[in-house]
Symmetry: C2
Subunit: 113 residues, 2 copies
DNA sequence: AAAATAGGTTAGCGTTTGCTAACCTATTCA
DNA sequence: TGAATAGGTTAGCAAACGCTAACCTATTTT
């Protein structure tokens, strides 16, 4: 797996991250929000930990999981930069289209879009 | 599949989207940037189209694929709102931690973090 | 010390995914 | 018209995924 965006692609893991957004929680607390087993949650947490998104603090027999702020920020930045280029391109493209509503460049430019 | 974030979780599809960010491209043009077959690309494009991220304009025997600006914006908004809550929480948490460097709330609050 | 609790680990399973190969249709070129 | 080209569709396969059940360790409770 090994890829941040891939890891948070999974809905269950996304939900885990959202739950942890509210503060640290134990594995059992997290599990109580799902229908799948504690083992499944444990495995999802392992993946999330492998990409650095979460880590745990152990206290007695509990393990409190929490988000890693740096990883969250890194992911957000990664996503922003990924999209900004495309959005910019799309916007200038839209502008160009509005400006030159006439003059199709060649025969295949003349259909609906 | 049916989930925007899940669909762009895949690295190949992410690359497709990035390529299309620069402007519309045919299936063959897209395929030339990958090592996998045209059929594989076609199937990825189908998924991207199913979540509304891309669509095609046909011109002769070519099909020019392009991003759907609205879907791109929707996805970005979706992502932003997803993270903003968490980031806010993390930041106020960090602030709280800095303010009250003393007084661990209970015995298990006293370890490293 | 024994019982209970939290949670990590692993084998094994059914399902899903991504891919290729092969085929088919529509369009263009000679 | 026949050959070539663009690309959608499908069957089938191997690999990856997500999950459960079972087991194991560490810690706490009685």
């Amino acid at each position: 797996m090994a890829d941040l965006l891939e890891v948070i692609g999974d809905p269950q893991r996304r939900r885990l991250v959202q739950l942890l957004g509210a503060g640290e929680l134990t594995v059992n607390q997290l599990t109580s929000h799902f229908t799948v087993s504690r083992s499944a949650i444990s495995q999802h947490l392992l993946l999330l930990a492998q990409v650095g998104l979460v880590s745990a603090r152990k206290a007695g027999r509990n393990r409190f999981y929490h988000l890693e702020p740096d990883a969250v920020k890194k992911l957000q930045a990664q996503f922003d930069s990924f999209w900004s280029a495309e959005l910019d391109a799309l916007e200038s493209e839209a502008n160009a289209l509005n400006k030159s509503r006439t003059r199709p460049t060649s025969k295949e430019t003349s259909n609906g879009f």
